[in-house]
Amino acid sequence: MSSPQPRIGVVQFPGSNDDRDALWALAALDAEALPVWHAETELPDLDAVVLPGGFSYGDYLRCGAIARFSPAMSAVAAFAEADGLVLGICNGFQILCEAGLLPGVLRANESLSFVCRDVRVRVDRADTAFTSRCRQGQELVIPVKHGEGCWYADDDLYQELVARDQIVLRYSEPVNGSLYDVAGVVNERGNVMGLMPHPEHAVDPLLGSADGALILASLVEAARDRALAAV
């Protein structure tokens, strides 16, 4: 029996600019990738949702703070609450933190400079729906491009996250001043993840690295499992 293509939605906010790359990368990894307009109050029938990078609503007030109130985000929050898989990339990560779906907050880079380059990140957990194709401790090369990627949580919160094993990715090099080099976190239930690096920009060796495909292919596989389970 041929396995079905999982349906993965990519939410397009005003100011999103990596939505097309995410759609392209997901399709290249054998998902049926569908754009979802931010004004939609309901999601189509989906097996996973991706919140793409960009500068939603101009990053006014704080990055992600306004996008959080868009109609589609209410639907995404309900989807996550119902155990749906949600991956936030860069601005998507910022939105998920502001929405309270992920812990912590993304602040201005410590250097105050925009960082745009390939960075090395280490996989601290290879047992999530978003990293199952990776090996524990594996180092990935994935580009970042952000001015506000400095993840922060207070001591108590950070210790809770470590105790619950919610830190999934850490930078292997100085990037943005992120607390303990955190580059990606997952929620307690393990169905929502955010990361600052852009896996959708690293799915083909021609682009310098195909390591991002490990993350997106993990998501596609997990989404496919959900789709099969629902049949």
């Binding site: 704080r62 880079n109 105050l112 922060y152 207070d154």
Partner: protein, 82 residues
């Protein structure tokens, strides 16, 4: 009722903008021990009285204007003068 909301980085939170400005002020020869940079939001609020206005603005701060993980806020109220 007019309300001014002052949003500041919480004590102990690194403020790279404030540090950059602090250094620049020192370069200009000013004796500055610390500079911190926050945000000002001026609001015109429709409310029956000051207490109601303050309660309303507090809700705005909690829900949108400040992120409680990293920011504190202060609310200043004054009557509209005709």
């Amino acid at each position: 009722m007019r309300a001014t909301v002052l949003v500041r980085p919480k004590q102990g939170i690194l403020d790279p903008q404030g540090e950059a400005v602090e250094n620049s002020l020192r370069h200009l020869g000013f004796g500055v021990a610390q500079a911190r940079i926050g945000r000002v939001v001026d609001l015109e609020v429709e409310a029956e009285d000051a207490a109601a206005a303050r309660a309303e603005v507090e809700r705005m701060c909690e829900q949108l204007l400040a992120n409680p993980l990293i920011e504190s806020y202060e609310i200043l109220l004054r009557e509209n003068r005709a």
